[in-house]
């Protein structure tokens, strides 16, 4: 059990380089509190797995240090770090039974049979593997094999952290949900530090107390699920989280007024003048946009399409050529294809060169 600190960590698969583009993981600093439930969220190829492998020691970073509490473990081999890691695809020992598979990590660490047996049986019951305990692992389904992989990750009770590398990819949706709640329950019960890598935002947001969003080898935001939703620090977080993602539109900024496609809205805050070369954008969640009848206060838009997705409707509206998504209550109905678009200014964010900037309350 330890706090895990990554200090100035960077990694390039081609060795040391002066060109930052060669780095799969760009210089980052991060601390994982002991007992925290974290999710690493980001698109494929953004460096999530690289980061995970650096923590577990499967990779040695090109530069920087990994600290467990205050101990430098950067060059300590994986087996000495006391880390559990579960991979995307099931890894099982074909010739062993389910019981032997689950017991393997304990056996390798010299635990006695009397210690191992109750623990294996308890875990098998929890994962629903008790019926197959004495079957050869290779005869089981992909789901069950992944459960064994999970089980081998969870069997040791004194690990520093459990790392999950998209472990539920191969599991079917119903079971996925069950296993995720079980992991959550285990986290509450035993207080393992858990780091969960995924590119599925629902998985990340339901699992974690804190979500780390990565994009192109960099950490773009660390925060609670609410913070990621309300105040995305980067336009990427805005796009990536939420369904549909945040509406981002270029604008001109004059104090507390923003001009979008030639139409002006008044913001809650006022912002400093930005240099002419800066890319200034306004970002707002579809949930915070609403539509009123044509001719009312708001920006005049044309309704392109309305999708009914059950709990609510999503309207696609066009302001000149720029499209916005608007979440509407299910019963809302619009007549004609003209409407007025209303911004909830308390939830309107301004981005300069993709990064969120803070305004001043008047």
């Amino acid at each position: 059990m330890a706090n895990i600190t990554l200090k100035e960590i960077a990694h390039s698969y081609t060795g040391y380089s002066d060109n930052p583009d060669d780095y799969a993981l760009k210089k980052l600093n991060l601390t994982w509190r002991d007992g925290g439930a974290y999710a690493l969220l980001g698109p494929s190829g953004c460096g999530k797995t690289t980061l995970l492998n650096i923590i577990s020691g499967l990779l040695t970073p090109t530069s920087g240090q990994v600290l467990f509490n205050d101990e430098d473990v950067t060059h300590l081999p994986t087996e000495k770090r006391n880390i559990a890691q579960i991979f995307q695809f099931p890894v099982i020992y074909d010739t062993m039974t389910v019981f032997q598979n689950l017991a393997f990590p304990l056996k390798n660490r010299g635990r006695t049979k009397t210690e191992i047996e109750p623990r294996v049986i308890q875990l098998a019951n929890m994962l629903g593997l008790e019926k197959d305990l004495y079957t050869k692992a290779q005869h089981l389904t992909a789901d069950a094999k992944q459960k064994i992989s999970l089980g081998r990750g969870l069997i040791r009770q004194s690990v520093n952290a459990i790392l999950f590398d998209e472990p539920l990819t191969v599991i079917d949706p119903q079971l996925k949900w069950e296993l995720r709640s079980q992991l959550k329950y285990l986290h509450k019960q035993f207080g393992f530090t858990m780091i969960y890598v995924t590119h599925d935002q629902t998985e990340a947001l339901t699992f974690a107390d804190e979500v780390i969003v990565m994009y192109e080898g960099e950490i773009v935001q660390v925060g609670t699920p609410e913070a990621l939703f309300e105040r995305p620090a980067h336009t990427f977080v805005g796009y990536f989280i939420g369904s549909p993602g945040m509406n981002i539109a270029p604008c001109e900024l004059h104090g507390n007024r923003a001009v979008i496609e030639g139409h002006e809205i008044t913001l809650d805050c006022s912002y400093r003048e930005q240099p002419a070369s800066a890319k200034v954008e306004v970002g707002i969640r579809p949930e915070y946009l609403s539509l009123a009848g044509p001719g009312q206060a708001g920006l005049p838009v044309k309704i392109v399409k309305v999708d009914d997705i059950g709990r609510h409707k999503i309207a696609r509206v066009a302001l000149n050529s720029r499209e916005f998504h608007v979440v509407m209550p299910e019963l809302a109905s619009m007549t004609g294809d003209q409407a007025s678009l209303i911004f909830d200014t308390a939830h309107t964010n301004i981005y300069v060169n993709d990064h969120l900037i803070a305004g001043e309350q008047p």
Binding site: N53, S56, G57, L58, P77, T78, E79, I83, A84, Q85, F87, Q88, F89, V91, Y93, D94, T95, M96, T97, F104, P105, N108, R109, K131, D132, L133, Y134, T135, K136, Q138, H139, S149, R152, G153
Partner: protein, 294 residues
Amino acid sequence: MIAKQTNQKAWFMVLPVFLVVAFSAVIPLMTVVNYSFQDTFGNNQFFWVGIDWFKDLMHSERFHDAFLRQLLFSGIILMIEVPLGIFIALAMPKKGWGVPVCLISMALPLLIPWNVVGTIWQIFGRVDIGLLGHSLASLGFDYNYTQEPIAAWITIIVMDVWHWTSLVVLLAYAGLCSIPDAYYQAAKIDGASRLSVFRYIQLPKMQRVLLIAILLRFMDSFMIYTEPFVITGGGPGNSTTFMSIDLVKMAIGQFDLGPAAAMSLVYFLVILLLSWVFYTVMSNIGEESSNGGA
């Protein structure tokens, strides 16, 4: 009605296969079967003798000796080449410039024709001019494969190991390369020792290719002819007269077509039987005790 017509046409589609198999396998084999039940004194005159040749064969000391020699040879070959091949495959690099270098140097012996390999070793081992034979003799070893049965056996075995271990290496290496990295990573996480990685990951994952390697090496070594024929000609005495050499002596040297045909059939059936045994045993290794509990 229509379906029936379609069925009739289908017979024509398989006709070429019938013809090819008939001419390549069935007819030659039946000729041998035909000879094995008859005796001839030349003039193309044949007499029916029933299963006499088979009876003789079962009681023939010469056949027993050749058969035991052959079993011993194949046994030794498998015991050396399979573990050695796996060991070399494990030691080979997985990436970098070493991979093509290793693969090509491994493949080279496989490309050399059998009788060239025989000739190379025949000369290599000669006491008068061969590098190996002369060096050994100079060092005081009593090595002479034309006189000493043990020396002859060692020469042929070392030659076969040199010639064919590569095949096992290449197959085992292919098996090793197909193991995803995640297995090794998981083994590290689980704290597995090097031996456990071999025992629980590499060996089970290589099982299929090793089955092929063992079958191929068994069949080839059980049928070995050219190299010992070139090196020792079956001698000294009969000490390296393996079954195929004996068969050729009988069929072509003595022109005993009937006994030779009977021996061919038995030889063929033994290979078939042993290959089947290997296949069944090895395919079932992973399955044992799988129903232990449940």
